[in-house]
């Protein structure tokens, strides 16, 4: 019996090895194909864009295509907007059908990774902007020339979208679909009830603590479980203190300057000051922004919602809250007001896409004024230009679109995952009093080595 068991074990190991080797072989081939496909795609798109477009129109007229699109925008207004967009596109392209698969953001990462490694990617799919671009860009089609050489498309996209977010090392890999404006939504009724004014500085927020505390209301929502919401305060303070905040952060990320510098120290101390003065609830690090934070705001348990992006405008208005959108209050008087902006939904495609031209046509269509109009009507801030004369019914969205263009825009992301982890972990430890500001910032320098 022992012999049989050993034999079984040997067979199992050999079979597993064969399976792994075949898997590896298959992948190696894919890489080779990818390189060729990338070159071909680049050549086609740079030199023959116009021809390809014409051909595409002819081809698409004849060949029925189902475009599969994956994203995690599982929100009612997004789904409604996309139904309208699909219907509009199909009017002129009756041969194109859509299979829009929307999952939760938690499941999405696993699904996308499995699809990439298994060569089963949909034609169009959402990819995280910012940090994740460092890893994902290798699987994506470089869209730089495709967009740049199409004056209409680059005009639609280039005006409002935060270009840094959809790029990696100067190349564009994603088509930005909506803008991710991150500011504070202030509940006007709470401000009126307690005779308070819109906060201009963090000291104004701190002064609200005892006034609102009588009814267990906090000045700002508490949602640091996804620590980027705390990290974004750090980023916004850097931008408020330095006119070239983005460049400074990127210099630090490249190792050109130390993270332990006076501007960054001051930015950290601003957050710590707010924390120590109970601007947030004490268990903020156990609360998620997309569940607990928004619930806290709609339940009127906090005056301001941070980080309120455009995706919340529908929810806030539907909850009957009269809100004003402002950039994050200043770290001190005299600092420069700054709006954080990024791209929320951004789509990519891949070089081996069998329906590449049809996919690109549709991705371009998503940047068009007709689509922007649909987005605005559904409380979404489009990345592309909002056409003139479009009525923005959602009052909060209207404020965001006009306010965002009045302030200096800051890119919030850090692209190196080691740095990002050092910031989020260190910031939490610093805020909770486990380490000093120097230890925190030095730990980022150390992580880069």
């Amino acid at each position: 019996m022992k012999k049989i068991f050993l034999m079984f074990l040997v067979v199992a190991l050999i079979t597993s090895l064969v399976m792994i080797l075949s898997f590896a072989g298959c992948k190696t081939k894919t890489v080779a194909e990818t390189t060729v496909a990338e070159t071909t795609a680049a050549e086609t798109t740079t030199a023959e864009t116009a021809v390809a477009e014409t051909t595409a129109v002819e081809t698409t007229a004849a060949k029925p295509v189902t475009l599969t699109i994956w994203d995690w925008q599982n929100v009612e207004n997004y789904l409604k907007a996309f139904d309208e967009i699909f219907a509009l596109y199909k009017k002129d392209h009756p041969n194109v059908d859509f299979d829009h698969k929307v999952v939760t953001s938690t499941d999405y990462m696993q699904m996308l990774k499995a699809a990439i490694t298994g060569n089963e990617l949909p034609q169009i799919f959402e990819v995280w902007t910012g940090m994740q671009m460092a890893d994902y860009h290798s699987a994506l089609l470089d869209l730089t020339d495709i967009i740049l050489k199409d004056p209409e498309w680059s005009d639609w996209v280039g005006k409002q979208a935060s270009q840094l977010d959809v790029q990696f090392e100067g190349k564009t890999y994603l088509v930005p679909i909506d803008m991710w404006d991150v500011g504070v939504y202030c509940n006007n009724k709470i401000l009126n009830d307690y005779s308070l004014k819109l906060p201009n500085t963090i000291d104004d927020l701190i002064n609200m603590v005892p006034v609102l505390g009588v009814d267990n209301i906090k000045p700002l929502s508490s949602n640091f479980q996804d620590v980027w919401t705390a990290q974004f305060i750090f980023t916004v303070f850097i931008h408020q203190l330095e006119p070239k905040g983005t460049e400074m952060q990127m210099q630090a990320e490249k190792g050109e300057i130390s993270w332990n510098n006076p501007t960054f120290v001051e930015a950290c101390e601003g957050i710590k000051k707010m924390w120590d003065k109970n601007v947030f609830r004490k268990d903020a690090f156990a609360r998620a922004y997309n569940i607990d934070g928004i619930a806290e705001f709609t339940d009127k348990k906090c005056m301001g919602l941070w980080a309120g992006g455009d995706w919340y405008t529908g929810t806030v208005v539907d909850a009957g809250i009269d809100a004003t959108a402002i950039p994050f209050p200043l770290i001190k008087e005299g600092a420069t007001p700054t709006y954080l902006a990024s791209n929320g939904l951004a789509y990519a495609t891949y070089p081996e896409n069998p329906d590449l031209q049809v996919s690109l046509d549709f991705m371009k269509f998503l940047s068009s004024p007709e689509v922007s109009k649909i987005f605005v009507e559904n409380s979404i801030h489009p990345a592309a230009k909002v056409p003139e004369g479009v009525e923005i019914k959602n009052p909060l969205l209207k404020q965001i679109i006009s306010t965002a263009s009045n302030y200096r825009e800051a890119n919030p992301w850090v692209y190196n995952s080691k740095v990002s982890t050092a910031i989020t972990d260190g910031l939490a430890n610093y805020i909770l009093g486990k380490i000093t500001v120097e230890e925190f910032l030095n730990s980022i320098d150390k992580a880069m080595k």
Partner: protein
């Protein structure tokens, strides 16, 4: 003919063998191989960046891993001890108490076991948040889940709440085969209840205690959903356990996409699981449980 007969059982077990090959051996073997590579889970060429034992070296030096390991051990030890004690106590009370509605009581105590851990986590999170039920009743302002040190213990508490009923059922089943005459004889001889429990009940339940403990240990090492929903391993990984750390390393949107390194963590977990499974098998064979 003899050889054919010898292999005869294998023919019947072939479907299961194939199942094991594809869904057990292959993933394990793949993980072992992957642990020697640096792969982000995205690059199509998985075996491009061979790093030899670098991932294992990093594992030893990784503070967050050891924090997660420590938390897992805390979680396992606390749940094994408390869950078994509560289960034993409840089974004891229900068995010897001879309650009129004992069945209903047993069902109520067992009920949390059939709930989804996701729902259990969400409900308990609502209770433990700073403006939740607990702080409101006790007029406190404590960050039960958001602090640096309490998170893992709160998660362990919720796990104990959910699974104590399961242990109670195991012990109750064990007690049903107890020869009650032994207890009666001890009572006639003047033994007090504590003595009866210590000298008769506990020794009688040793096989059940062993099995219940091993099952709790194995369940403890697998905990993920409670941690992920209640604290997401935070703040700053302070309530991370091995499984949540593996998830963060490989799939989380804020994670570093280190699949090769995550595979190394999997190998470490597999090693622990094998150790406990071996102990369990050994006990089962030697004691004939």
């Amino acid at each position: 003919m003899r050889l054919k007969e010898k292999f005869f059982p294998l023919y019947y077990t072939l479907p299961v063998i194939l199942f094991y090959l594809v869904f057990l051996f292959y993933p394990i073997f793949f993980n072992v191989i992957l642990s020697f590579f640096n792969w982000n889970g995205i690059n199509p060429n998985i075996f491009k960046d061979f790093v030899a034992f670098e991932n294992y070296k990093n594992l030893i030096l990784d503070k967050v891993f050891w924090l997660a390991f420590r938390n897992t051990i805390y979680f396992v030890i606390s749940t094994v001890i408390v869950q078994n004690l509560i289960g034993l106590f409840l089974a004891h009370i229900l068995f010897f108490g001879n309650f009129k509605y004992g069945n209903i009581l047993r069902s109520i105590i067992f009920f949390p076991t059939i709930l989804s851990p996701v729902i259990v986590s969400l409900v308990w999170k609502k209770i433990f948040i700073s403006d939740g039920l607990l702080n409101t009743i006790l007029h406190l302002d404590i960050a039960w889940l958001g602090g640096l040190y309490a998170g893992i213990w709160i998660v362990a508490f919720v796990n104990i709440w959910q699974w104590s009923g399961y242990n109670m059922v195991l012990y109750y089943a064990g007690l049903q085969s107890l020869d009650y005459q032994l207890v009666e004889a001890a009572m006639i001889d003047g033994a007090n209840w504590a003595g009866i429990v210590a000298k008769i009940v506990i020794p009688f339940l040793i096989p059940t205690i062993t099995i219940a403990s091993i099952l709790t240990v194995l369940g403890g090492f697998k905990v993920f959903d409670l941690v992920y929903i209640m604290t997401k391993g935070g703040p700053a990984h302070q309530s991370e356990v091995i499984t949540s750390y593996m998830y963060w390393l490989s799939f989380d949107a804020t994670g570093p996409n280190r699949m090769g390194y995550a595979a190394t963590v999997v190998i470490f977990s597999l090693f622990i699981a094998i150790v406990f499974a071996s102990i369990r098998m050994r006990i089962m064979f030697t004691r004939k449980i």
